[in-house]
Amino acid sequence: MTVKEMIRKPIVFAGLLMAAIILIPSAPLFAETAGGVEYRDIQGIGSRNLIWLFSQLHILFGAFVLGVPIFVLACELIGVVTKEKRYDRLAKEFTDLIVACYNMTATIGILFLFALLVFYPKLMSVMADIFQPAYYVYVFLFIGETASIYLYWSKWDKMQDRKGLHMFIGLVLNIFGFLIMCVPSAFLAFQASPVVLGPDLGPWEKAWVAMNNPTWWPVNIHRIVGNIVLGGFVCGAYAGVAYLGATTKEEKEHYDWMGYTGNFIGVFGLLPMPFAGYWLMREIYEYNQQMGITLMGGILSWLFILQAVLIGVLFLGANYYFWQGLAYRTHSAAKYKTPIVIMLLVLVVSFGVWLTPHSLVASVSEARAMGGSHHPLLGVFGVMSAKLTVVNLMILTTFIGFILYWRADKVETAKWAKASRIFQYFLFTVATIAIIFLGVYGYHPDVPASFRVNVLSVAQVLAVLFVLVTVIPLTALSLRTAKLTREMKWGVMPPRSQYALLLNAVFTVLTMSLMGYARSASRVHWHIYGVLEDTSAYGFTPTLGHASLLFVINTFIFTIMVGLIFWSVSKSVRYQGFSTQYFFLASVFFWFVSLFEPKKAIEQKVSAEVKNVWKGAGVVMAFLLAYIYIGYSVPQKVGLPPEKKALDLTKIKTKQDMVQVGQEIFYSKGQCALCHSIGPGHGRCPNLKGVGARLTREFIYEALTVPDAYVKLDFEQVNPVSYAAEMPIINKAPIGLSEEEMLTVIAFVQSNGGEVTVTPEELLNLGSPVDNTAHNSQNDEMKLAKDVREESIGND
């Protein structure tokens, strides 16, 4: 065997690629870096990009490891209930993959953690201070997950006659999986929506309070549903590749069916996804309107157009696969032509509306012709009402496609079947009309935003859910007694349907990369929103083109790695004792073994099957490249953190100046507006409108420095309740306003409906060195206020 022949073996390429993927990005970790204690950076890739890659890859593998067991367990259960062997086979096939991917998740997780410790020591020490006890919990969960995953996997065959116990282990595995996801979710949710941690909290209490923050549960739910989608679509893609490469009829039938099952699970996971996302978004708005605006209307709004592209492709891809199922697997394909055209039209028109941005990218002359940056007709498609309307229509259409597929080749025999069908048509019609009506009504100028968000949008969602929960049991009931005209044909799907499966998996990964970024970018230049600022060189929001490039790189690396793992596993399971724990050595091992194998002629002719697999890869690559292009064709803006202004006492001459400065501090350094609102809007704390008339300055001062001196309750309800957020001590870390700054804030608060009694002179006096150590600062302030009052009386 010549060297040339050896090198041409795909296994060598695979091994080298795997080594490169793991080693090259982690190489900078070992490089010597210059820099302070707070941050370190590396030349070339940049610390943020590296963290970005590691975290996203870790989360993607994690999502796979958590999502697949859910559907494996479901498959096992279906297998037990229906007594069909193929479900059990499918479930076991995937358990092999979970174990391999579990190792990968841990490996990348460690790299991610090391990278964080190296590059972001400041953030990590703050986080460790808060979440230390959670780390112990995490370790415990990790051990539980590892034990249950290995038990579940290794005892699969031995426990065939004790299925109940085996499924119980699977359930335990899923519970551990869910909890293990919740813990780090809490870290990042805390970064986005931190809560105030009182000074006298014990470590466990502190960690719990920090974990139980406003966006924690929405993120958990959103993630777990997303994981199911990923699990389903990756199963579909695996089956797709296997189908394309299959040569025998049995294999084709098995993988065709597996692809169908995966796609089915993916789609059903996808249906509640917009609702979960909507809930998360609502919680973000509730937590901080500013963050909501940054995401939906500000610099990140174009990100949601990029997301819309992905969601649209997912919907089209999943539906396309359903339609091909109708066209190839059933025996009455021709009668579905018209419904498919209608569904395609509805989906494409909805997709068009879903994609249309509010302000369009236009050249100057085009904008002039259009009469501004908003198109008079298309402008209305750019807002939330339209988006929610069409996404509900898309869900409904997908559901109709599924129902058609479900009923195909079956004749209902029940007497009430006809009536039930008419009722279902009626339901679909009413739901469609209702969704469109509610959407259009949302534009009515008299409809306030909160009504649109809380009532109209929820009603649309409920309409869709109502259709789902009514039609599914009705159809299931009527099909129970239905006659099967002919058995469905499996294994006859054309290659392009499998490309759709591949594309769905890859686009799910891409969507997850994008959403991960959206969540982290919503913090803008903060590590912990409003608490710990990102003062590194990367404390800014990169352009969306750059972000899209990273999404695609992430997706690409993940896809390649998963592909290699699948491939390695499929090779290594043939050998007993070749544990998948060392899967990434498999390719190198095989290469080594192959050196001693007798020389074989290199196959010149590529079979049609292999050709199709490569074609599929080509389709996926083309879509990924197109996505980078789209990412760079939306407005490219870098979001910089606002300039910091130091308090300049010499500029303050009048009370009005003080109020002005106080207002700035109120909204910036003081972070008061994170919870308090003034006037309209509901905060998580007392509304400060007109508060100047009610409170004395001493009370305001006390409220700032000794916030728990009084119990404060929300008396706007019938039964007073405590407020959602706790007031931090303003003159202590993390906010740490100085006495001068607090005086200006008091002036600003007083100016809300009251008379400003703080004077610029006080401020200047404070500016001169005062020995604060001897006195309690609060008494100092009181005394000072008293002196000033007396002074002003004296002047009169």
Partner: protein, 244 residues
Amino acid sequence: MRLPLVAKAFGAWILSYVIFKFGMPFITSPLPSSIIFMYMSLVTVAVLLFVSVFEDDFHSFFGPITSFIRGEEGDGVGRKMSRIAVFIIIPLFFGFRTYENVKPSFEAPFPQRVIHPAPPGEAAGFTNPFEGDEAHYEEYIQEGRKIYYENCVFCHGDKLDGHGIFANALNVKPANFADPTTISMLMESFVFWRVSKGGIGLPGESTPWDSAMPPWELILTEEERWKVIMFLYEYTGFKPRTWE
């Protein structure tokens, strides 16, 4: 006569293009090319999806195309010639498009800015000091009207529709307040912030500040700005968006 699927598909594609490009200006304003590109990509995807769902469609669509490109036994001279013509026209077309794109032009580059920047936190706290003062409402409106016609009318126009006498000299055109998707979609506090900061004072993400509006906080007092905003809503009959 029944049209072959290829002809139908191309027909639908071209018809959509004609509607987007030439039909839209008749109904409403013309579409910018970015949107036409986006919609046409979608139409292309839709056509490809449609012709590839069913096996018979797939063959009747791609069959003629592949046989035309590959050439079949017994192709006449006309077919050969048209194949050669297609293979000459396609690269020429793309070459021409590339030339069009790279040749120097006097067209200003695409403004890549965020039209609705997220206002800084304090913008959410701006409240109209005159709100609820029904007794003097008419008075404030009249003062606002005066301020509008002394300051804003030159760009935003007599009818608040963005057609002031300076409007034709400005890119981007001044906002049209009579359009139901402008001020009626925004909260009062946002409008106040936008008026106060003008084009120049917008945050970095909105640069280059295409808006020529001056920062009115340097010219008008806070009360004057609120009065003029009240006038805008009064005149157009819209109400500001409210949270509750």
